[in-house]
Symmetry: C2
Subunit: 240 residues, 2 copies
């Protein structure tokens, strides 16, 4: 493997002896609000796929790392910061973008319901619209973003079953029933209440806040997850 020569013209052009692909990052951001699993999409302002919905993302700058680029794009396009991010997969089919060869490194992100609700989600630095969509009721997506999203959903299911990161989708305080509802929505199956509680509590990553959620019926204990839960799971992170 040998390197291509590279120089810059006065007119800010970049010349290479071999063609190069573009490299983008895209982000699949999940949260759980209003009893729905949701993902953040951007409505495209220009061709190709004008007006269609797409994952937030953009070009990787020359001086930034990939995860850094994903965090930056998320912040610029949606105002979302301080988010759990991990690399999902790199998609590089030569035909995936009609404009040319674009390889995209996709990141997987989880946002707490608190943060999601605090966001005024209607466009960031450009005039694009951003909106939360129910994962089970999506619009038609641009590019190959449909299969990418499905793959991210698989990863999310896997995370929920094998790690404690489900907490990252919830507000800071939640009841066990709410937590169970998240699991049931994402895994698409009903769970046994007693077994669920026993297993979650045995994992020793929750603590009672001492307060209760008052409502129509019997008040429910509120829990938060302990800092330990996050470290523990980051230690178990399978993709660096």
């Amino acid at each position: 493997m040998t390197m291509q020569s590279q120089r810059m013209t006065p007119m800010q052009q970049y010349i290479y002896n071999h063609p190069r692909p573009s490299v983008t990052v895209d982000v699949v951001l999940f949260t759980y609000t209003k009893s729905e699993l949701r993902t953040l999409l951007i409505q495209r302002g220009g061709p190709p796929y004008t007006d269609q919905w797409a994952l937030p993302g953009g070009f990787v700058h020359m001086e930034e790392g990939l995860e850094e680029a994903a965090a930056r794009e998320l912040l610029e396009e949606t105002g979302v910061g301080d988010v759990y991010l991990e690399q999902l997969y790199t998609f590089g089919d030569p035909q995936r973008d009609p404009r040319g060869r674009v390889i995209t490194v996709v990141y997987f992100a989880l946002l707490s319901a608190d943060q999601a609700e605090r966001l005024a989600v209607t466009g960031g630095d450009d005039a694009q619209a951003a909106a939360w969509w129910n994962v089970y009721d999506l619009p038609h997506l641009a590019f190959d973003h449909q299969p990418i999203l499905e793959y991210a959903l698989q990863r999310l299911r896997w995370k929920l079953e094998w790690t404690a990161l489900g907490f990252l989708l919830l507000p800071a305080q939640f009841t066990l029933s709410e937590l169970q509802a998240v699991y049931e929505t994402i895994l698409k199956e009903a769970l046994d209440k007693r077994n669920f509680r026993r297993k979650i509590l045995a994992a020793d990553i929750l603590e009672e806040t001492g307060s209760y959620r008052e409502g129509d019926h019997r008040p429910a204990k509120l829990y938060r997850f302990t800092a330990k839960a996050i470290e523990l799971e980051q230690a178990r992170r399978r993709f660096p």
Copy 2:
């Protein structure tokens, strides 16, 4: 995200309005021969890192997919074809290559001992040397290939524990003791013979060939793995 204009000069140069990274694929290829877990490395023929050992790999061509590129590089540089390939991770630290911004999509590959031994491993299309190295006794590696290889080794351990893909490292026929030795080498721990056999046979992915390995002592039954074994990505459910 908007696309850069792009045109080609008569002198076969490629001009872009924005700088672009190079994109390479690298492959971590594992096999198990002579009682050792081995990986294939290439000795670099020029700068940077002249004479140092590195993962096989090279630039992604504009018209080929990523996995396709990985397979091609493997074939060109080492003569290895017909191999299990899966994407491992994409590394894109801006400083990882002294020549400029190079993002590499790394693939993880498993080669059967049969194929590994049939290979005359001494350089492919260029005059670079290729050689198998014991994973636990590696030379100093070029670029960031050391941590990449460690990450691949983690993935291999995970595969061995959770899937049946360990078979792909072995010759077509093998004894249970040989199989156990592979597991012990890769997982770096001793396994109980009876439990190992019970578990492997219960997985129902092996069949007896009917013949025996004759040797110094009592002949051992030879097994092969069934086609079914490859699909079986074990999914132990966390919730009922």
